[in-house]
Protein backbone atom coordinates (compact mmCIF):
# COMPACT_ATOMS: atom_id res chain seq x y z
CA UNK A 1 0.00 0.00 0.00
CA UNK A 2 1.02 3.55 -0.59
CA UNK A 3 1.54 5.53 2.56
CA UNK A 4 -1.55 7.31 3.75
CA UNK A 5 -0.87 10.99 4.11
CA UNK A 6 -3.52 13.64 4.19
CA UNK A 7 -3.78 15.25 0.80
CA UNK A 8 -6.29 17.87 -0.31
CA UNK A 9 -6.94 15.56 -3.27
CA UNK A 10 -8.85 13.25 -0.95
CA UNK A 11 -11.40 15.95 -0.29
CA UNK A 12 -11.86 16.45 -4.01
CA UNK A 13 -12.30 12.70 -4.41
CA UNK A 14 -15.04 12.64 -1.80
CA UNK A 15 -16.75 15.63 -3.37
CA UNK A 16 -16.66 14.03 -6.84
CA UNK A 17 -17.99 10.73 -5.51
CA UNK A 18 -20.82 12.46 -3.66
CA UNK A 19 -21.90 14.58 -6.62
CA UNK A 20 -21.75 11.59 -8.97
CA UNK A 21 -23.80 9.43 -6.64
CA UNK A 22 -26.46 12.12 -6.25
CA UNK A 23 -26.55 12.70 -10.02
CA UNK A 24 -26.98 8.96 -10.61
CA UNK A 25 -29.78 8.54 -8.13
CA UNK A 26 -31.68 11.82 -8.35
CA UNK A 27 -33.55 11.05 -11.61
CA UNK A 28 -34.85 7.80 -10.13
CA UNK A 29 -35.78 9.52 -6.90
CA UNK A 30 -37.61 12.18 -8.91
CA UNK A 31 -39.46 9.52 -10.87
CA UNK A 32 -40.67 8.12 -7.57
CA UNK A 33 -41.65 11.60 -6.35
CA UNK A 34 -43.73 12.26 -9.49
CA UNK A 35 -45.43 8.90 -9.12
CA UNK A 36 -46.55 9.64 -5.58
CA UNK A 37 -47.83 13.17 -6.02
CA UNK A 38 -51.39 14.03 -6.92
CA UNK A 39 -51.68 15.49 -10.47
CA UNK A 40 -52.31 19.00 -9.17
CA UNK A 41 -48.99 19.07 -7.29
CA UNK A 42 -46.73 16.91 -9.44
CA UNK A 43 -45.38 19.73 -11.59
CA UNK A 44 -46.00 22.66 -9.27
CA UNK A 45 -43.16 25.19 -9.23
CA UNK A 46 -41.45 25.49 -6.92
CA UNK A 47 -42.00 21.82 -6.07
CA UNK A 48 -43.22 20.94 -2.59
CA UNK A 49 -40.35 19.30 -0.78
CA UNK A 50 -42.60 17.90 1.89
CA UNK A 51 -45.84 16.32 0.82
CA UNK A 52 -48.14 13.48 1.75
CA UNK A 53 -47.25 10.65 -0.64
CA UNK A 54 -50.15 9.22 -2.58
CA UNK A 55 -49.61 5.60 -3.58
CA UNK A 56 -52.92 5.18 -5.37
CA UNK A 57 -51.23 5.15 -8.79
CA UNK A 58 -49.42 1.97 -7.83
CA UNK A 59 -52.78 0.25 -7.57
CA UNK A 60 -54.29 1.90 -10.64
CA UNK A 61 -51.55 0.95 -13.08
CA UNK A 62 -52.39 -2.74 -12.80
CA UNK A 63 -55.84 -2.18 -14.22
CA UNK A 64 -54.97 0.30 -17.00
CA UNK A 65 -53.33 0.26 -20.44
CA UNK A 66 -52.72 -3.49 -20.33
CA UNK A 67 -49.83 -2.95 -17.95
CA UNK A 68 -50.48 -6.00 -15.77
CA UNK A 69 -50.60 -8.21 -18.87
CA UNK A 70 -47.36 -6.75 -20.16
CA UNK A 71 -45.69 -7.23 -16.78
CA UNK A 72 -46.76 -10.86 -16.82
CA UNK A 73 -45.51 -11.24 -20.42
CA UNK A 74 -42.10 -9.95 -19.38
CA UNK A 75 -41.98 -12.41 -16.49
CA UNK A 76 -42.87 -15.27 -18.87
CA UNK A 77 -40.31 -14.15 -21.46
CA UNK A 78 -37.56 -13.80 -18.85
CA UNK A 79 -38.28 -17.09 -17.08
CA UNK A 80 -38.59 -19.17 -20.26
CA UNK A 81 -35.73 -17.31 -21.94
CA UNK A 82 -33.39 -17.83 -19.00
CA UNK A 83 -34.42 -21.49 -18.66
CA UNK A 84 -33.79 -22.11 -22.36
CA UNK A 85 -30.44 -20.35 -22.28
CA UNK A 86 -29.21 -22.28 -19.24
CA UNK A 87 -30.49 -25.58 -20.59
CA UNK A 88 -28.53 -25.18 -23.81
CA UNK A 89 -25.53 -23.35 -22.41
CA UNK A 90 -24.73 -25.53 -19.38
CA UNK A 91 -23.97 -28.77 -21.31
CA UNK A 92 -22.08 -26.77 -23.94
CA UNK A 93 -20.01 -25.03 -21.27
CA UNK A 94 -19.43 -28.37 -19.55
CA UNK A 95 -18.14 -29.89 -22.76
CA UNK A 96 -15.78 -26.96 -23.22
CA UNK A 97 -14.38 -27.34 -19.71
CA UNK A 98 -14.28 -31.14 -19.39
CA UNK A 99 -12.97 -32.11 -22.77
CA UNK A 100 -10.71 -29.12 -23.11
CA UNK A 101 -12.19 -28.29 -26.45
CA UNK A 102 -10.10 -25.48 -27.80
CA UNK A 103 -13.08 -23.23 -28.20
CA UNK A 104 -12.20 -20.33 -25.93
CA UNK A 105 -11.17 -18.05 -28.74
CA UNK A 106 -14.11 -18.94 -30.92
CA UNK A 107 -16.47 -18.46 -28.03
CA UNK A 108 -15.14 -14.95 -27.38
CA UNK A 109 -15.40 -14.15 -31.08
CA UNK A 110 -18.97 -15.44 -31.23
CA UNK A 111 -19.85 -13.36 -28.16
CA UNK A 112 -18.30 -10.24 -29.57
CA UNK A 113 -20.09 -10.67 -32.89
CA UNK A 114 -23.42 -11.21 -31.16
CA UNK A 115 -22.77 -8.07 -29.14
CA UNK A 116 -21.81 -6.05 -32.21
CA UNK A 117 -24.61 -7.14 -34.54
CA UNK A 118 -27.22 -4.36 -34.69
CA UNK A 119 -30.61 -5.79 -33.74
CA UNK A 120 -32.45 -4.85 -36.90
CA UNK A 121 -30.15 -6.98 -39.04
CA UNK A 122 -32.03 -10.01 -37.79
CA UNK A 123 -35.20 -8.41 -36.43
CA UNK A 124 -36.65 -7.76 -39.87
CA UNK A 125 -36.01 -11.25 -41.26
CA UNK A 126 -37.34 -12.70 -38.01
CA UNK A 127 -40.43 -10.50 -38.36
CA UNK A 128 -41.07 -12.01 -41.78
CA UNK A 129 -40.39 -15.54 -40.52
CA UNK A 130 -42.47 -15.12 -37.35
CA UNK A 131 -45.41 -13.74 -39.32
CA UNK A 132 -45.45 -16.86 -41.45
CA UNK A 133 -45.01 -19.43 -38.67
CA UNK A 134 -47.29 -17.69 -36.17
CA UNK A 135 -44.66 -16.74 -33.60
CA UNK A 136 -45.11 -13.01 -34.17
CA UNK A 137 -46.47 -11.27 -31.06
CA UNK A 138 -45.87 -14.30 -28.84
CA UNK A 139 -43.82 -14.53 -25.65
CA UNK A 140 -42.23 -17.77 -26.79
CA UNK A 141 -41.08 -16.10 -30.01
CA UNK A 142 -39.33 -13.40 -27.99
CA UNK A 143 -37.76 -15.92 -25.63
CA UNK A 144 -36.33 -17.77 -28.65
CA UNK A 145 -34.93 -14.73 -30.45
CA UNK A 146 -33.24 -13.53 -27.25
CA UNK A 147 -31.11 -16.67 -27.37
CA UNK A 148 -28.99 -14.98 -30.04
CA UNK A 149 -27.41 -12.95 -27.24
CA UNK A 150 -28.22 -15.08 -24.24
CA UNK A 151 -26.57 -18.35 -25.32
CA UNK A 152 -23.08 -17.12 -26.15
CA UNK A 153 -23.14 -14.95 -23.03
CA UNK A 154 -24.34 -17.81 -20.81
CA UNK A 155 -21.93 -20.37 -22.32
CA UNK A 156 -19.04 -18.06 -21.74
CA UNK A 157 -20.01 -17.11 -18.20
CA UNK A 158 -20.87 -20.68 -17.13
CA UNK A 159 -17.68 -22.18 -18.54
CA UNK A 160 -15.69 -19.65 -16.53
CA UNK A 161 -17.51 -20.77 -13.37
CA UNK A 162 -17.24 -24.50 -14.15
CA UNK A 163 -13.54 -23.98 -14.88
CA UNK A 164 -13.03 -23.01 -11.25
CA UNK A 165 -14.14 -26.45 -10.05
CA UNK A 166 -11.06 -28.65 -9.40
CA UNK A 167 -10.66 -31.28 -12.13
CA UNK A 168 -9.63 -33.91 -9.57
CA UNK A 169 -13.16 -33.99 -8.19
CA UNK A 170 -14.61 -34.79 -11.59
CA UNK A 171 -11.93 -37.40 -12.32
CA UNK A 172 -12.61 -39.06 -8.97
CA UNK A 173 -16.33 -39.20 -9.74
CA UNK A 174 -15.61 -40.79 -13.13
CA UNK A 175 -13.36 -43.41 -11.52
CA UNK A 176 -16.18 -44.23 -9.10
CA UNK A 177 -18.36 -45.02 -12.09
CA UNK A 178 -20.40 -41.83 -12.49
CA UNK A 179 -21.51 -40.98 -16.03
CA UNK A 180 -20.65 -37.61 -17.54
CA UNK A 181 -24.20 -36.44 -16.88
CA UNK A 182 -23.99 -37.51 -13.24
CA UNK A 183 -20.63 -35.79 -12.91
CA UNK A 184 -22.13 -32.59 -14.25
CA UNK A 185 -25.22 -32.77 -12.07
CA UNK A 186 -23.70 -34.02 -8.81
CA UNK A 187 -20.20 -32.57 -8.84
CA UNK A 188 -20.09 -29.46 -11.00
CA UNK A 189 -23.50 -27.90 -10.64
CA UNK A 190 -23.66 -27.83 -6.82
CA UNK A 191 -20.22 -26.26 -6.67
CA UNK A 192 -20.94 -23.75 -9.43
CA UNK A 193 -24.45 -22.95 -8.21
CA UNK A 194 -23.76 -19.33 -7.20
CA UNK A 195 -22.19 -18.71 -10.60
CA UNK A 196 -25.19 -20.23 -12.37
CA UNK A 197 -27.53 -18.07 -10.32
CA UNK A 198 -25.54 -14.98 -11.24
CA UNK A 199 -25.64 -15.98 -14.91
CA UNK A 200 -29.40 -16.41 -14.71
CA UNK A 201 -29.77 -12.98 -13.14
CA UNK A 202 -27.55 -11.17 -15.63
CA UNK A 203 -29.23 -12.87 -18.61
CA UNK A 204 -32.65 -12.15 -17.10
CA UNK A 205 -31.97 -8.46 -16.44
CA UNK A 206 -30.84 -8.02 -20.05
CA UNK A 207 -33.99 -9.68 -21.35
CA UNK A 208 -36.24 -7.67 -19.06
CA UNK A 209 -34.66 -4.40 -20.23
CA UNK A 210 -34.54 -5.19 -23.94
CA UNK A 211 -36.50 -2.73 -26.09
CA UNK A 212 -35.56 -2.91 -29.78
CA UNK A 213 -36.56 -6.50 -30.47
CA UNK A 214 -39.56 -6.48 -28.13
CA UNK A 215 -40.94 -3.43 -29.89
CA UNK A 216 -40.57 -4.90 -33.36
CA UNK A 217 -41.71 -8.47 -32.79
CA UNK A 218 -44.73 -7.85 -30.57
CA UNK A 219 -47.93 -5.92 -31.05
CA UNK A 220 -50.35 -6.32 -28.21
CA UNK A 221 -50.61 -9.91 -26.94
CA UNK A 222 -46.95 -10.27 -26.06
CA UNK A 223 -46.16 -6.62 -25.35
CA UNK A 224 -43.42 -6.40 -22.71
CA UNK A 225 -43.11 -4.13 -19.73
CA UNK A 226 -40.62 -1.76 -21.41
CA UNK A 227 -42.99 -1.16 -24.28
CA UNK A 228 -46.01 -0.87 -21.97
CA UNK A 229 -44.46 1.87 -19.83
CA UNK A 230 -44.32 4.10 -22.90
CA UNK A 231 -47.95 3.19 -23.57
CA UNK A 232 -49.23 5.45 -20.80
CA UNK A 233 -49.22 8.26 -23.32
CA UNK A 234 -52.97 7.93 -23.82
CA UNK A 235 -54.87 9.79 -26.51
CA UNK A 236 -55.37 13.17 -24.94
CA UNK A 237 -52.43 13.68 -22.62
CA UNK A 238 -49.50 11.82 -21.18
CA UNK A 239 -50.49 10.38 -17.83
CA UNK A 240 -47.26 11.20 -16.11
CA UNK A 241 -48.07 9.83 -12.68
CA UNK A 242 -49.16 6.44 -13.99
CA UNK A 243 -46.20 6.35 -16.35
CA UNK A 244 -43.81 7.13 -13.51
CA UNK A 245 -45.41 4.54 -11.22
CA UNK A 246 -45.21 1.91 -13.98
CA UNK A 247 -41.56 2.78 -14.59
CA UNK A 248 -40.76 2.43 -10.89
CA UNK A 249 -42.56 -0.92 -10.81
CA UNK A 250 -40.46 -2.08 -13.76
CA UNK A 251 -37.12 -0.88 -12.38
CA UNK A 252 -37.19 -1.93 -8.74
CA UNK A 253 -36.98 -5.73 -9.23
CA UNK A 254 -33.97 -5.29 -11.55
CA UNK A 255 -32.12 -3.19 -8.99
CA UNK A 256 -32.78 -5.85 -6.36
CA UNK A 257 -31.54 -8.66 -8.61
CA UNK A 258 -28.50 -6.66 -9.64
CA UNK A 259 -27.71 -6.14 -5.96
CA UNK A 260 -27.73 -9.90 -5.48
CA UNK A 261 -25.45 -10.57 -8.46
CA UNK A 262 -23.23 -7.54 -7.86
CA UNK A 263 -20.04 -9.53 -7.36
CA UNK A 264 -20.28 -10.90 -10.88
CA UNK A 265 -21.31 -7.76 -12.72
CA UNK A 266 -17.87 -6.65 -13.89
CA UNK A 267 -17.15 -10.09 -15.25
CA UNK A 268 -20.52 -10.19 -16.98
CA UNK A 269 -20.19 -6.73 -18.47
CA UNK A 270 -16.99 -7.32 -20.40
CA UNK A 271 -17.05 -11.06 -21.04
CA UNK A 272 -13.98 -11.45 -18.86
CA UNK A 273 -11.86 -9.06 -20.86
CA UNK A 274 -11.28 -7.42 -17.47
CA UNK A 275 -10.94 -9.77 -14.53
Amino acid sequence: MRRRRFRPGILVAYAVATVATLASLFPLYWLFVISTKVPRDAFKTPPDLLYVPDFSKYLQIWTTAGFAGAYLNSIVVVLSGVALALLVATPAAYALVRFRVRGGRWLRLWLLLAYTTPEFLFVIPMYVLYQSVGLYDSTIGLAVIYQVFAIPFAVWLIQSFLGEVPRELADAARVDGATELQTLLRVYLPLAAPGLAATAILVGVNMWNEVTIALSLTFDNAKTVQVAVAGFRGYAAIRWQEMAAAAVAAVVPMIVFAGIAQRFIVKGLTFGAVK
Binding site: A20, S24, P27, L113, P118, E119, I124, I151, V274
Partner: protein
Protein backbone atom coordinates in the same frame (compact mmCIF):
# COMPACT_ATOMS: atom_id res chain seq x y z
CA UNK B 1 -23.98 -29.41 -30.11
CA UNK B 2 -27.50 -28.06 -29.83
CA UNK B 3 -26.05 -24.61 -29.25
CA UNK B 4 -24.62 -24.57 -32.76
CA UNK B 5 -27.99 -25.55 -34.23
CA UNK B 6 -29.80 -22.83 -32.37
CA UNK B 7 -27.13 -20.34 -33.39
CA UNK B 8 -27.65 -21.37 -36.98
CA UNK B 9 -31.37 -20.91 -36.69
CA UNK B 10 -31.31 -17.61 -34.91
CA UNK B 11 -28.39 -15.73 -36.38
CA UNK B 12 -27.07 -17.15 -39.63
CA UNK B 13 -30.46 -17.57 -41.24
CA UNK B 14 -31.56 -13.95 -40.70
CA UNK B 15 -28.23 -12.57 -41.87
CA UNK B 16 -28.36 -14.60 -45.06
CA UNK B 17 -32.00 -13.65 -45.53
CA UNK B 18 -31.17 -9.96 -45.11
CA UNK B 19 -28.44 -10.18 -47.69
CA UNK B 20 -30.74 -12.00 -50.08
CA UNK B 21 -33.73 -9.70 -49.64
CA UNK B 22 -31.63 -6.58 -49.92
CA UNK B 23 -31.31 -7.45 -53.61
CA UNK B 24 -35.07 -7.22 -54.15
CA UNK B 25 -37.65 -4.52 -54.34
CA UNK B 26 -40.15 -5.59 -51.73
CA UNK B 27 -42.82 -3.75 -49.81
CA UNK B 28 -44.62 -5.76 -47.13
CA UNK B 29 -47.70 -7.44 -48.58
CA UNK B 30 -46.63 -7.00 -52.21
CA UNK B 31 -44.90 -9.16 -54.77
CA UNK B 32 -41.24 -8.54 -55.21
CA UNK B 33 -38.81 -8.19 -58.09
CA UNK B 34 -35.11 -8.75 -58.30
CA UNK B 35 -33.37 -5.40 -58.54
CA UNK B 36 -29.74 -6.35 -57.98
CA UNK B 37 -27.66 -3.81 -56.14
CA UNK B 38 -29.88 -0.84 -56.92
CA UNK B 39 -31.12 -0.67 -53.31
CA UNK B 40 -27.53 -0.17 -52.23
CA UNK B 41 -26.93 2.57 -54.77
CA UNK B 42 -30.22 4.34 -53.93
CA UNK B 43 -29.53 4.16 -50.24
CA UNK B 44 -25.99 5.44 -50.46
CA UNK B 45 -27.33 8.34 -52.51
CA UNK B 46 -30.15 9.00 -50.05
CA UNK B 47 -29.81 12.20 -48.05
CA UNK B 48 -31.79 10.80 -45.12
CA UNK B 49 -29.67 7.66 -44.84
CA UNK B 50 -26.49 9.68 -44.89
CA UNK B 51 -27.92 11.99 -42.22
CA UNK B 52 -28.74 8.93 -40.09
CA UNK B 53 -25.19 7.59 -40.52
CA UNK B 54 -23.75 10.98 -39.60
CA UNK B 55 -26.05 11.33 -36.58
CA UNK B 56 -25.05 7.88 -35.37
CA UNK B 57 -21.36 8.72 -35.68
CA UNK B 58 -21.82 12.08 -33.92
CA UNK B 59 -23.79 10.41 -31.13
CA UNK B 60 -21.22 7.64 -30.73
CA UNK B 61 -18.23 9.98 -30.72
CA UNK B 62 -19.93 12.35 -28.29
CA UNK B 63 -21.33 9.78 -25.90
CA UNK B 64 -18.18 7.64 -25.81
CA UNK B 65 -15.93 10.65 -25.10
CA UNK B 66 -18.16 12.11 -22.40
CA UNK B 67 -18.63 8.73 -20.74
CA UNK B 68 -14.93 7.94 -20.93
CA UNK B 69 -13.81 11.21 -19.35
CA UNK B 70 -16.45 11.05 -16.61
CA UNK B 71 -15.95 7.34 -16.03
CA UNK B 72 -12.17 7.60 -15.77
CA UNK B 73 -12.38 10.62 -13.47
CA UNK B 74 -14.85 8.83 -11.25
CA UNK B 75 -12.84 5.61 -11.18
CA UNK B 76 -9.73 7.56 -10.10
CA UNK B 77 -11.66 9.54 -7.50
CA UNK B 78 -13.47 6.55 -6.01
CA UNK B 79 -10.26 4.49 -5.90
CA UNK B 80 -8.88 7.05 -3.44
CA UNK B 81 -11.78 6.83 -1.01
CA UNK B 82 -11.04 4.96 2.18
CA UNK B 83 -14.56 5.11 3.60
CA UNK B 84 -17.66 4.05 1.70
CA UNK B 85 -15.94 2.91 -1.49
CA UNK B 86 -18.07 -0.22 -1.84
CA UNK B 87 -21.30 1.67 -1.19
CA UNK B 88 -20.48 4.34 -3.76
CA UNK B 89 -19.70 1.66 -6.34
CA UNK B 90 -22.97 -0.12 -5.71
CA UNK B 91 -25.01 3.08 -5.91
CA UNK B 92 -23.28 4.26 -9.08
CA UNK B 93 -24.22 1.01 -10.83
CA UNK B 94 -27.94 1.61 -10.42
CA UNK B 95 -28.59 3.49 -13.71
CA UNK B 96 -27.15 0.55 -15.69
CA UNK B 97 -30.00 -1.63 -14.46
CA UNK B 98 -32.68 0.64 -15.92
CA UNK B 99 -34.12 -0.33 -19.30
CA UNK B 100 -33.79 2.09 -22.25
CA UNK B 101 -37.48 2.89 -22.47
CA UNK B 102 -37.62 3.80 -18.80
CA UNK B 103 -34.52 5.95 -19.16
CA UNK B 104 -36.49 7.81 -21.84
CA UNK B 105 -39.51 8.25 -19.57
CA UNK B 106 -37.36 9.57 -16.72
CA UNK B 107 -35.66 12.18 -18.85
CA UNK B 108 -38.80 13.26 -20.63
CA UNK B 109 -40.30 13.96 -17.22
CA UNK B 110 -37.21 15.81 -16.01
CA UNK B 111 -36.54 17.76 -19.21
CA UNK B 112 -40.04 18.89 -20.06
CA UNK B 113 -39.54 22.55 -21.08
CA UNK B 114 -42.46 23.89 -19.05
CA UNK B 115 -43.06 21.34 -16.30
CA UNK B 116 -39.71 19.63 -15.81
CA UNK B 117 -37.60 19.99 -12.71
CA UNK B 118 -34.53 20.85 -14.77
CA UNK B 119 -36.21 23.84 -16.40
CA UNK B 120 -37.27 24.98 -12.97
CA UNK B 121 -33.72 24.59 -11.70
CA UNK B 122 -32.29 26.59 -14.59
CA UNK B 123 -34.83 29.36 -14.16
CA UNK B 124 -34.29 29.63 -10.45
CA UNK B 125 -30.60 30.37 -11.04
CA UNK B 126 -31.55 32.95 -13.67
CA UNK B 127 -30.90 30.97 -16.84
CA UNK B 128 -33.36 31.04 -19.72
CA UNK B 129 -35.83 28.26 -20.44
CA UNK B 130 -34.40 25.71 -22.86
CA UNK B 131 -36.04 23.37 -25.34
CA UNK B 132 -33.69 20.39 -24.83
CA UNK B 133 -35.21 17.47 -26.76
CA UNK B 134 -37.53 19.72 -28.77
CA UNK B 135 -34.81 22.09 -29.95
CA UNK B 136 -33.13 20.95 -33.21
CA UNK B 137 -29.86 22.53 -32.11
CA UNK B 138 -29.85 20.87 -28.69
CA UNK B 139 -31.60 17.54 -29.14
CA UNK B 140 -28.51 15.51 -30.02
CA UNK B 141 -26.46 17.00 -27.18
CA UNK B 142 -29.33 16.24 -24.82
CA UNK B 143 -29.51 12.62 -25.93
CA UNK B 144 -25.74 12.28 -25.48
CA UNK B 145 -26.17 13.61 -21.95
CA UNK B 146 -28.96 11.11 -21.27
CA UNK B 147 -26.75 8.27 -22.48
CA UNK B 148 -23.95 9.57 -20.27
CA UNK B 149 -26.25 9.36 -17.24
CA UNK B 150 -27.22 5.83 -18.24
CA UNK B 151 -23.90 4.28 -19.27
CA UNK B 152 -21.04 6.15 -17.58
CA UNK B 153 -21.26 3.56 -14.79
CA UNK B 154 -20.14 0.91 -17.29
CA UNK B 155 -16.91 2.77 -17.99
CA UNK B 156 -16.52 3.53 -14.30
CA UNK B 157 -16.95 -0.01 -13.04
CA UNK B 158 -14.69 -1.61 -15.65
CA UNK B 159 -11.92 0.97 -15.21
CA UNK B 160 -12.23 0.61 -11.42
CA UNK B 161 -11.62 -3.11 -11.79
CA UNK B 162 -8.68 -2.32 -14.08
CA UNK B 163 -7.20 0.13 -11.58
CA UNK B 164 -7.51 -2.39 -8.77
CA UNK B 165 -5.57 -4.96 -10.78
CA UNK B 166 -2.59 -2.67 -11.43
CA UNK B 167 0.69 -3.74 -9.82
CA UNK B 168 1.71 -1.60 -6.83
CA UNK B 169 5.52 -1.73 -7.15
CA UNK B 170 5.94 0.81 -9.97
CA UNK B 171 3.82 3.31 -8.06
CA UNK B 172 5.83 2.85 -4.88
CA UNK B 173 9.06 3.26 -6.81
CA UNK B 174 7.77 6.40 -8.50
CA UNK B 175 6.73 7.89 -5.20
CA UNK B 176 10.15 7.22 -3.71
CA UNK B 177 11.69 8.88 -6.76
CA UNK B 178 9.50 11.93 -6.11
CA UNK B 179 7.19 11.74 -9.12
CA UNK B 180 4.23 14.09 -8.85
CA UNK B 181 0.74 12.63 -8.89
CA UNK B 182 0.22 13.99 -12.40
CA UNK B 183 3.43 12.29 -13.57
CA UNK B 184 2.35 9.02 -11.97
CA UNK B 185 -0.98 9.28 -13.77
CA UNK B 186 0.55 10.21 -17.11
CA UNK B 187 3.48 7.78 -17.18
CA UNK B 188 2.23 4.88 -15.06
CA UNK B 189 -1.55 4.68 -14.71
CA UNK B 190 -2.43 5.50 -18.31
CA UNK B 191 0.04 3.15 -20.04
CA UNK B 192 -0.66 0.28 -17.62
CA UNK B 193 -4.38 0.78 -17.98
CA UNK B 194 -4.27 0.98 -21.78
CA UNK B 195 -5.62 -2.52 -22.55
CA UNK B 196 -8.55 -2.01 -20.15
CA UNK B 197 -9.26 1.42 -21.62
CA UNK B 198 -9.34 -0.01 -25.14
CA UNK B 199 -11.70 -2.78 -24.08
CA UNK B 200 -14.03 -0.25 -22.47
CA UNK B 201 -13.95 2.02 -25.51
CA UNK B 202 -14.59 -0.93 -27.81
CA UNK B 203 -17.66 -2.06 -25.89
CA UNK B 204 -19.08 1.43 -25.55
CA UNK B 205 -18.46 2.32 -29.21
CA UNK B 206 -20.12 -0.79 -30.55
CA UNK B 207 -23.04 -0.36 -28.16
CA UNK B 208 -23.51 3.31 -29.03
CA UNK B 209 -23.59 2.57 -32.75
CA UNK B 210 -26.67 0.42 -32.09
CA UNK B 211 -28.45 3.24 -30.23
CA UNK B 212 -32.21 2.90 -30.50
CA UNK B 213 -34.33 2.93 -27.35
CA UNK B 214 -33.28 6.27 -25.84
CA UNK B 215 -33.84 8.01 -29.19
CA UNK B 216 -37.04 6.18 -30.05
CA UNK B 217 -38.41 6.85 -26.56
CA UNK B 218 -37.52 10.54 -26.37
CA UNK B 219 -37.50 12.28 -29.77
CA UNK B 220 -38.33 9.44 -32.15
CA UNK B 221 -35.55 10.80 -34.37
CA UNK B 222 -36.76 14.40 -34.40
CA UNK B 223 -36.97 17.36 -34.39
CA UNK B 224 -36.86 16.96 -38.19
CA UNK B 225 -34.20 14.28 -38.56
CA UNK B 226 -31.64 15.78 -36.19
CA UNK B 227 -31.47 12.75 -33.91
CA UNK B 228 -32.40 9.94 -36.28
CA UNK B 229 -29.84 7.15 -35.85
CA UNK B 230 -29.39 4.30 -38.31
CA UNK B 231 -31.42 1.83 -36.26
CA UNK B 232 -34.25 4.37 -35.82
CA UNK B 233 -34.11 4.95 -39.58
CA UNK B 234 -34.29 1.19 -40.26
CA UNK B 235 -37.24 0.84 -37.90
CA UNK B 236 -39.13 3.64 -39.62
CA UNK B 237 -38.43 2.31 -43.10
CA UNK B 238 -39.51 -1.21 -42.16
CA UNK B 239 -42.48 -0.62 -39.88
CA UNK B 240 -43.86 2.73 -41.03
CA UNK B 241 -43.11 2.61 -44.76
CA UNK B 242 -43.21 -1.21 -44.86
CA UNK B 243 -40.25 -1.15 -47.21
CA UNK B 244 -38.59 -4.34 -45.99
CA UNK B 245 -35.91 -4.52 -48.68
CA UNK B 246 -34.56 -1.04 -48.08
CA UNK B 247 -34.53 -1.63 -44.33
CA UNK B 248 -32.55 -4.84 -44.77
CA UNK B 249 -30.16 -3.10 -47.16
CA UNK B 250 -29.61 -0.43 -44.50
CA UNK B 251 -28.80 -3.04 -41.91
CA UNK B 252 -26.41 -4.95 -44.18
CA UNK B 253 -24.42 -1.80 -44.88
CA UNK B 254 -24.51 -0.74 -41.25
CA UNK B 255 -23.53 -4.14 -39.87
CA UNK B 256 -20.49 -4.19 -42.13
CA UNK B 257 -19.62 -0.74 -40.80
CA UNK B 258 -20.02 -1.88 -37.17
CA UNK B 259 -17.89 -4.95 -37.88
CA UNK B 260 -15.12 -2.80 -39.34
CA UNK B 261 -15.16 -0.62 -36.22
CA UNK B 262 -14.88 -3.76 -34.09
CA UNK B 263 -11.95 -5.01 -36.18
CA UNK B 264 -10.20 -1.64 -35.88
CA UNK B 265 -10.37 -1.93 -32.08
CA UNK B 266 -9.13 -5.50 -32.26
CA UNK B 267 -6.04 -4.31 -34.15
CA UNK B 268 -5.28 -1.84 -31.36
CA UNK B 269 -5.54 -4.40 -28.57
CA UNK B 270 -2.48 -6.35 -27.40
CA UNK B 271 -2.36 -9.75 -29.08
CA UNK B 272 -3.39 -11.80 -26.04
CA UNK B 273 -6.60 -9.79 -25.67
CA UNK B 274 -7.61 -10.14 -29.30
CA UNK B 275 -10.14 -12.66 -30.47
CA UNK B 276 -9.79 -12.28 -34.21
Amino acid sequence: MPAILLLGLTSIYPTAYSLYMSLFDWNWGQRFNFVGISNYLDLLASERFRTAMWNTIVFTAGAVSVEFVLGLGLALAVSRLSVGRGTVRTLLLVPLMVGGMIVSVIWKVMLDPTLGIISFGLQSVGLPRMGFLGDPGMAMATIIMIDAWWQTAFVFIVLSAGLQALPLEPFEAAEVDGASSFQRFRYLTMPLLRPTILVVLMFRTVDCLKVFAIIFGTTGGGPLTTTESVQVFAYRVAFKQLNMSVSMTTMVIFSVFALLVLLAYQRLLPTEERVS
